[in-house]
C-alpha cells in the first residue's frame, strides 16, 4: 500500500472514532448494570486501620483524609433513606478519616450525626458518635462546638442529662462559646434532676451576664428552681402528715393546721374563717369546759377525738413567720 493510500485509510478509520466512543459508552452501561449487584455484595474497605492508612499515605495524610471523608459522605448519601439500609462501613471510614487528619472538623460533627441517627437515616450508633466526638475534643480542645455536639448527643440520643449538662458546661467555659451553651447546661441539669448544679449554673449566669434578657431568664429559672425545692419539701411534709394522721392532707391548710408547715400566709377568707372558729370556740369554751371537767378531761387535750379541739391545739403558733420563700 502506498503512503497516500495508508493515510487515506487512516483518516477513514479515524472517522469511526465517534462511533467507537458511543459503543464504549454503551458497553460501560452494560458493565455497570452487571457489576452493580456484585459491587454491593463485595463492598468492603481494604484499609480499615487509620494508622496503616496514615503510614501508606506517604505524608499526604491530609489529602487522603479528604478523600476518605468524601467517600464517607458518598457512602452515607448513597444509602440514607433506602429501605433496610445499613451503614456498616461508616464507622471504619470515619475512623480512618479522623486518624489521618485529626483536625477535620466536618468529619467529627457531621460524622457524629450520621452515626447517631436511627433507622434508615443513620447507623443508630450513638455510642460510636460519642466516641468520635470525644476523640475530636481530645485532638481539638479549643473547639467549643464539639463540646456542644457532645452535649447534644448525650441529651437527645442517650438521654444522659448529667453528662449532657457537663458537656455544655465545659463548652461554656470557652470564651468564644455563645451564652446559650451555659443556658443549655443549666436547663439540662434542671431537667435531669440536678437541682443544685442547675442552681449553681443559673446563679453564675445571673451574676455574669450583661444581657438583660438572659438575666431575666436566669432569675425566672432560679425562682422555678425554688418552686421545685418547695414542691419537694411539701411532698415530704405531706408524707409526714399521712404518716401521722393516716390519710393525705386535703389542702395546705391541713398541714399548716397540723403544725408541719410554718410561715404560710393564709388567705383572707381562711383567716376570717379561722377567726370565726376561734370566736365560736371561745364562746363554747365555757360550756364545753364544764362538760369536759365533768368527764375529767381537758378541752384542749390534743388526744381528744374531737377535731375542732385538735384544730385549736395544732394551729397554735402557726402564724408569725410570713416569708413566702421560706
Amino acid at each position: 500500500m502506498t503512503f497516500g493510500g495508508q493515510s487515506r485509510s487512516l483518516w477513514t478509520a479515524i472517522a469511526f472514532i465517534p462511533i467507537l466512543l458511543v459503543a464504549i459508552a454503551a458497553l460501560q452501561q452494560r458493565i455497570d448494570a452487571q457489576t452493580s449487584t456484585i459491587a454491593k455484595e463485595q463492598e468492603e474497605l481494604l484499609v480499615r486501620s487509620g494508622r496503616v492508612a496514615k503510614n501508606l499515605s506517604l505524608g499526604y495524610d491530609s489529602l487522603l483524609a479528604d478523600v476518605y471523608w468524601t467517600r464517607a459522605v458518598q457512602y452515607y448519601g448513597g444509602r440514607v433513606g433506602l429501605p433496610g439500609a445499613t451503614f456498616d462501613l461508616l464507622w471504619p471510614l470515619l475512623d480512618v478519616t479522623t486518624t489521618l487528619d485529626s483536625h477535620l472538623m466536618p468529619a467529627y460533627r457531621f460524622g457524629a450525626i450520621f452515626l447517631s441517627e436511627q433507622g434508615e437515616v443513620g447507623a443508630g450508633r450513638p455510642d460510636l458518635a460519642i466516641e468520635l466526638v470525644k476523640r475530636g475534643i481530645a485532638a481539638n480542645p479549643g473547639e467549643w462546638r464539639l463540646q456542644t455536639d457532645l452535649g447534644f448527643l448525650y441529651y437527645w440520643r442517650v438521654r444522659d442529662y448529667k453528662n449532657a449538662a457537663a458537656a455544655y458546661w465545659q463548652a461554656s467555659k470557652n470564651p468564644a462559646a455563645p451564652v446559650w451553651a451555659k443556658l443549655m447546661a443549666a436547663r439540662i441539669a434542671q431537667k435531669g434532676g440536678s437541682i443544685e448544679t442547675s442552681r449553681m449554673i443559673w446563679s453564675e449566669l445571673y451574676e455574669s451576664t450583661k444581657d438583660p434578657n438572659v438575666k431575666k431568664i436566669a432569675a425566672q429559672q432560679l425562682l422555678s428552681l425554688k418552686a421545685q425545692d418547695d414542691q419537694a419539701h411539701l411532698d415530704k411534709l405531706a408524707a409526714e402528715y399521712a404518716k401521722r394522721f393516716g390519710h393525705d392532707p386535703a389542702s395546705i391548710q391541713d398541714m399548716v393546721a397540723a403544725g408541719l408547715l410554718t410561715g404560710v400566709r393564709r388567705s383572707r377568707r381562711i383567716r376570717l374563717r379561722a377567726r370565726a372558729r376561734r370566736e365560736i370556740a371561745f364562746k363554747s369554751k365555757q360550756s364545753y369546759g364544764h362538760r369536759a371537767a365533768r368527764r375529767s378531761r381537758s378541752p384542749l387535750d390534743p388526744q381528744s377525738r374531737r377535731p375542732f379541739a385538735r384544730f385549736l391545739v395544732t394551729s397554735r403558733g402557726s402564724r408569725g413567720n410570713e416569708n413566702p420563700l421560706q
Binding site: 495508508q6 466512543l21 464504549i24 458518598q74
Partner: protein
C-alpha cells in the same frame, strides 16, 4: 497484523528483554516467597487471601509500572536515537510501526504477567492448599489485569507520539488515576443539584477509560465466579478503547514532522 508489524513487535520484545525489563520478576518472586513464609507465621486463616490479594496487586502494579515507563519511551526513544529514520526509510508505514511497537510491549507485558502468575500459583501451592475450580477466577482476574495494561500501554504510546517521556508519564498516570476513580466522578455529579455539572460528570465518566472495570482482585480472592458476559464486555470495552487511542496516536504520529 502484517508481517512487518510482527517484525517490529518481536524486536520491541527483544529490546525489552535485553534491557533487563524482566528482572522485575526477581523482585516479584521475592515478594511472593516472603509473603508465603511470613503470612503463615503472623496470621490465621487468611494466608490464601493475602497471597492472592498480594500476588494480583503485584502483577497489576509491576505491569502498570512497566507499561507506563516503557510505553512513554517507545516512540520518543526511537526519535532521540534516530533509529526511526532508518526504519521509516524501509517499506513500513508509520501506523504499522506504531502498532508493531504497541504489540511488542503488549507481548512483553503478557510474558511478564504469565510468569508472575506462575509465581503466584507456586506461592499458593507453598501455603499448602490444593487448587480448586474456583481458582479459575484468579486467571480471569489476571486476564482483566492484562486488559488494563493494554489500555495503559495504548495511552502511554499515544502521549509518547508528541510529548517527552516525563510529561507522557504524568499524563498517563493522571488518566490512570482519574479513570480508576471514574465511578466517584459520576457519583459526585449525581450528588450535585446542578444539571450542567451532572451532565458534565456523566460525560466525563463515559469518556475516560474506566479502569475500575478491570479490578476483580477482591472477587478472585474470595473465590467467587466472574460472569463470562462481564469478561466479554470488558474485552470489547478494552478493544474499542485501545482502537480509539491507537487511531488517535496514528493520526498524531502521521502528521508529525520528523525532520
Amino acid at each position: 497484523m502484517s508481517a512487518l508489524t510482527a517484525v517490529v513487535a518481536i524486536n520491541t520484545f527483544r529490546e525489552a528483554v535485553r534491557d533487563r525489563v524482566l528482572y522485575n520478576l526477581v523482585l516479584f518472586a521475592l515478594v511472593m516467597i516472603g509473603a508465603a513464609i511470613l503470612v503463615g507465621q503472623i496470621s490465621i486463616g487468611i494466608d490464601r487471601l493475602v497471597i492472592i490479594n498480594l500476588g494480583l496487586s503485584a502483577i497489576s502494579l509491576f505491569g502498570l509500572v512497566m507499561a507506563v515507563f516503557i510505553g512513554v519511551g517507545l516512540v520518543y526513544k526511537e526519535i532521540e536515537k534516530r533509529t526511526l529514520y532508518s526504519l521509516l526509510a524501509k517499506p513500513i508505514g508509520r501506523q504499522q510501526f506504531l502498532v508493531g511497537k504497541y504489540a511488542g510491549l503488549l507481548l512483553t507485558l503478557a510474558v511478564n504477567t504469565a510468569l508472575m502468575t506462575i509465581g503466584l500459583a507456586g506461592a499458593l501451592f507453598y501455603v499448602g492448599r490444593p487448587f480448586m475450580r474456583s481458582d479459575l477466577s484468579i486467571l480471569v482476574a489476571v486476564y482483566l489485569i492484562l486488559l488494563e495494561l493494554a489500555l495503559v500501554t495504548a495511552l502511554a504510546l499515544f502521549f509518547s507520539c508528541f510529548s517527552t517521556p516525563m510529561l507522557s508519564t504524568l499524563f498517563t498516570l493522571g488518566i490512570y488515576l482519574t479513570g480508576s476513580f471514574a465511578a466517584d466522578l459520576r457519583e459526585v455529579g449525581d450528588l450535585t443539584r446542578s444539571p450542567l455539572l451532572k451532565g458534565f460528570m456523566r460525560a466525563l465518566y463515559y469518556l475516560l477509560p474506566n479502569f475500575h472495570n478491570f479490578n476483580a482482585i477482591a472477587v478472585a480472592a474470595h473465590g467467587e465466579t466472574i460472569p463470562f458476559s462481564l469478561v466479554a464486555q470488558n474485552t470489547l470495552y478494552a478493544c474499542a478503547y485501545v482502537t480509539v487511542v491507537l487511531l488517535a496516536a496514528a493520526a498524531v504520529f502521521s502528521r508529525r514532522n520528523l525532520k
